[in-house]
Amino acid sequence: MIGAHASMSATAVGPHLFWLTSRAAGIAALVLSSVSVSVGLLMGGRILKGRRAELRVAHEALSLATLAALIVHGLTLLGDGFLHPSLGDLAVPFLSGYKTLWTSMGIVAFWALLLLGLSYYARTRIGAQRWRKLHRFAALAWILGIAHSLGEGTDAGQSWFLAMTAIVVVPAIGLLVARRLDAWRSPALGIFQGSRQLAAATRALDPRTVRHSTARSE
């Protein structure tokens, strides 16, 4: 890719238009998906409890915008003068010869985000509980997407790109870690509370306690 682009003049932007569009769409998708993940994690958290309806609308809109940006990112590559990828190269993992691992990572992330995102509209059929469990994998797809952008992205070495990625990715990762910690702590807390309730019930049923309380009442 680099060689063919380098063979042209650096100032001639026309031949690179598809490449530029694809890069811009990829960057937009990275930011939008990160913000979407953050909003989705905030929905389930306790930070913005009263704003659940607004967060849900924002999360949905951001997810759809991410998918649109990802589609533009992939489809514009079809017109790239150097790479000349087929639709199969862009849609099927491990088919493209160009940086196969990173490209495949991006393709898998796209399909996962598409399926998991659009499954929201079929959640009554899937079942809300099952859908919620499935939806957790969206975070994994997002991480794959970040790996794809850092591993294959043309601008991955640029300081502005790294700063922008850090600004949107670090808060989302923080929220994700907080959510995971919460999820691990909650069952433990449930067991703890359950044991306290059990102890209280045992105490209440203990004949000595009952006798003692009866004697006191008499």
């Binding site: 682009h5 063979s7 650096a10 932007v13 530029l20 890069r23 937009a28 309806a53 915008a65």
Partner: protein, 144 residues
Amino acid sequence: MESHDTSARPRASELTPEQRSARALARSRRAAMRRRARRIRRSVAGLTATLFSAAFLTVYVQLASGHDPALSAAAHRRAATATVGAGTASTTSTSGSESAGTSSTPSASESSSESGSSSSESSSGSGSSGESSQSASAVTTSQS
């Protein structure tokens, strides 16, 4: 189903003033929520367009000013290869003249053919600076 609906929702005339005001309040709240949702969707669409435009502008300016990471890396590689190629060519010509003066020609002719192939590779832009530098060192060795 319809009869059930009518039994669940009494007519407006049958409602007490409190119920009427409660309904109006619910309606206004629903409308406000719908308005908020529309505003959020528009904001997200605007954000998407802005983000895309900003990203496009950034990479465009980078490319137009000759600071594109892919292109500048390739240009550096080409420049390095060209320099090495030029060095190889001059060294080869020197070795050629020397070999003309002396009788030891095979190694010199082999090395010059090697350097020729490496320069043609570098002009194709495959970034074979390593190969060409190897051939350059081979030429120097044969010359010595």
